[in-house]
């Protein structure tokens, strides 16, 4: 079969389809979003009734996939790295329950924070949960590891992590497909109590998980994704993980003089590591993200072999790996022929012209800055986070999804007035609803603005779980309907919007203002389709 040009993300999606999944469960998040979108657009999902709708958040996605695995079917869960924090409770416990149908958890990391608020490395989650991790170095490996990963997951009875990084997720290359497998039939595990994590059972299950560790290491030692490539110069031994191997080879087009251990599967293969450390004087670790392997090899006290990497300054501690940083580590620094001229300015992203969030911020800043100088605005994550920049400079925080409402509450508890939260519709249903209940139960003096563009815009306009239900959710949670105010964020409505804002700030209880107007990007897309 000829090769198809696919993104790293799309390679995972295609492989999951070919491996016979019965469902993908995900909440959007860069750089993982394209996996689910590819499956949504595949003709196969109709024929095979593959679940592919977006979930409300990463935790609901993780749990639903575990349910699918419970009945013996293969499932894929996808999220960006910070989504792992949201899914962590169910993810960590899924390692203790183990799985029935094959389960792959894609965690897409974002070194350099191209579209994120931190650089956490999901390999630590795999280590923490005691489950295997695959780390592809190229699009074909992303395909092959996913295709084979389901069977591997079934064989060891554990979920496995597929760790992606932005550069691979969003890079295209030719990929060869394997044959389409049938979907699993419904089946249940041998142990009917496997998923009942009462302490007495959990203790047994945990021992089983611990007992599997040797087998996982052995699988890594025998894995085709962990390769020892010998070299004549033993002064240095190189451990190159995932796409780190590409950058190593980019700088050594005719082969590397040092022995290289290419890593694509964890837990780390002991046998090959031992060989490398016994034969070489010094170790260089090339890994994208945080110094995960480096820390393991070096140990806290650094009393073994000398290890170079991010901790000793060979690489910077932050930011993604590049062919240039690897060149430098190898003593082959790439030279510039031209510098970037001083006149080149930064061009940060901004809210689109015509976006409803703009009208909301115009009104909000006009009223608050002039009339309530003691105010603070707690922001959240989405397009509207761009209200932090010019010309609005409107928000004082952006931490994690949902944090606007709860931080506003905590600040109000501490005496702040007015305490205002700005949150998007998708973020509200993702993890703002529970915080709103806290506010209602304590009659917190907060003004919550749910800026509803009826989509998940920041990540490209996916369906938003609460569309059409926001007022009903707020009423259901217990917000007084008199203080749920819907407005259309347009210039002609500025006076009305200001009046409502003043009234709700002056009301000393929970108010929700919902400026609602469809995202101009999704609207334009709909019009083009027509």
């Amino acid at each position: 079969m000829s090769k198809q040009l696919l993104l790293g993300d799309e390679s995972i999606a295609q492989a999951a389809l070919d491996a016979g999944i019965s469902g993908v469960y995900a909440y959007p998040g860069t750089p993982s979003t394209e996996i689910t979108e590819y499956i949504q657009n595949s003709p196969l999902n109709g024929e095979r009734k593959i679940h592919n709708r977006w979930c409300t958040n990463e935790k609901t996605a993780m749990e639903a996939s575990l349910g699918m695995s419970f009945v013996g079917k293969r499932a894929l869960v996808c999220m960006k790295h910070v989504g792992m924090n949201v899914a962590a409770d169910s993810f960590i416990n899924s390692a203790v329950t183990g799985v029935n149908g094959g389960l792959i958890v894609v965690a897409a990391d974002d070194p350099s924070m191209h579209s994120s608020q931190n650089e956490q490395d999901s390999r630590f989650y795999g280590d923490f949960a005691l489950v295997p991790i695959f780390e592809p170095g190229n699009q074909q490996e992303a395909y092959d590891m996913t295709y084979g990963g389901f069977e591997f997951s079934e064989k060891i009875g554990e979920p496995v992590i597929m760790r992606m990084v932005t550069r691979l997720a969003h890079s295209r290359s030719g990929v060869e497909f394997k044959s389409l497998k049938p979907q699993n039939e419904v089946s249940f595990g041998e142990d009917p109590r496997q998923f009942v994590l009462l302490p007495a059972i959990a203790r047994k299950r945990y021992k089983i998980l611990l007992g599997k560790q040797e087998a996982m290491i052995k699988a890594s030692e025998e894995s085709i994704y962990n390769r020892y490539i010998d070299g004549p110069n033993k002064k240095l031994g190189i451990i190159a993980c995932g796409i780190g191997y590409n950058y190593l080879m980019e700088n050594n087009p005719n082969g590397c003089e040092y022995p290289v251990l290419k890593i694509g599967q964890y837990p780390l293969p002991k046998k090959q590591l031992m060989k490398l450390c016994n034969e070489c004087k010094e170790i260089l670790v090339i890994e994208d993200g945080q110094p995960f392997v480096e820390k393991k090899i070096q140990g806290y006290l650094s009393i073994g072999i000398k290890v170079r990497g991010r901790l000793d300054g060979t690489f910077p501690q932050d930011g993604e790996l590049t062919p240039d940083s690897v060149a430098k580590a190898l003593g082959k620094e790439n030279k510039r022929n031209f510098d970037m001229p001083d006149i080149v300015e930064m061009r940060p992203p901004a809210l689109c012209q015509g976006c409803g969030h703009r009208d909301m911020y115009t009104v909000l800043t006009e009223v608050l800055k002039k009339e309530y100088p003691s105010h603070k605005v707690f922001g959240d994550i989405g397009c509207y986070t761009l209200g932090a920049g010019a010309p609005f400079f409107a928000i004082n925080s952006c931490v994690d999804m949902g944090a606007s409402i709860t931080m506003a509450k905590g600040a109000a508890d501490g005496g702040l007035y007015p305490s205002v939260a700005v949150i998007g519709d998708s973020t509200f249903t993702h993890s703002g609803m529970t915080g709103l209940l806290d506010c209602v139960n304590e009659k917190a003096d907060v003004t919550i603005i749910i800026s509803d563009n009826e989509t998940t815009a920041m990540t490209g306009g996916q369906d938003s779980a609460g569309t059409g239900k926001i007022e009903a959710i707020c009423t259901g949670i217990g917000v007084d309907p008199k203080h749920i105010r819907v407005v259309i964020p347009l210039k002609k409505n500025y006076d009305e919007m200001k009046k409502i804002l003043r009234e709700e700030i002056q009301y000393h209880g929970v108010s929700v203002i919902i400026p609602r107007r469809e995202c101009i990007q999704t609207l334009a897309r709909k019009n083009r389709k027509k």
Partner: protein, 194 residues
């Protein structure tokens, strides 16, 4: 054959449409290809770039190294300059001359053009105007692509085929329009390097 290309512009300008045409042609020719794209936050009017690598041998890295880029193709003049550290000594820069001003501190335009003028190998053209003359400003990207033909190291016919392939479903008139845009860009570049 090896070509390392950086495409640059501002989110929303559609630099990836140029990459798609070159990519399709490269695959037809049986070349290896890697194309790193930018998705996500910066697509909202921020600076965007794509690294497109073509070779007749397998390609290791998805990213181009500093000082080794053969060609910068830019839909915006200031964005063209952002990636100069990547340009090789003999590399070419092909850029649209029309600034997209969505920041308050956009540089002085005369200074900007002077800076580009000082580069040894560059093609600067008014893609929007050329596109308008050809028939529609919508084909500005293809005019720019046409201007890179002398430096692409790929058969012109292959690029034409690729355009036919991609725009086929939109009808013959659209295919013709794009081919004309391509030829117009090519003509300008050829004249400029004479």
């Amino acid at each position: 054959m090896k070509k390392d290309i950086i495409l640059s512009g501002v989110g929303g300008q559609g630099i990836l449409s140029i990459a798609t045409v070159i990519g399709k042609a490269a695959l037809k020719e049986g070349l290896y290809l890697k194309q790193a794209e930018v998705h996500g936050m910066s697509q909202r009017g921020g600076d965007v770039q794509s690294n497109l690598r073509l070779s007749d041998k397998p390609i290791a890295s998805d990213l181009i190294s500093i000082g080794k880029c053969d060609l910068i193709i830019s839909l915006e003049p200031m964005e063209a300059l952002r990636y100069l550290p990547y340009l090789s000594k003999d590399g070419w820069l092909v850029t649209s001359e029309t600034p997209l001003i969505n920041i308050p501190n956009y540089p002085d335009q005369t200074k900007l053009m002077d800076t580009i003028d000082k580069l040894p190998h560059k093609i600067v053209l008014d893609v929007d105007n050329v596109a308008k003359e050809v028939g529609s400003t919508r084909v500005a990207n293809i005019v720019l692509l046409g201007a890179t033909i002398p430096f692409l190291g790929m058969n012109y016919q292959l690029i034409q085929e690729s355009i036919k392939n991609i725009f086929q479903r939109k009808g013959d008139a659209i295919v013709e329009l794009n081919l004309k845009a391509l030829a117009a860009g090519k003509g300008i570049a050829e004249k400029l390097i004479q």
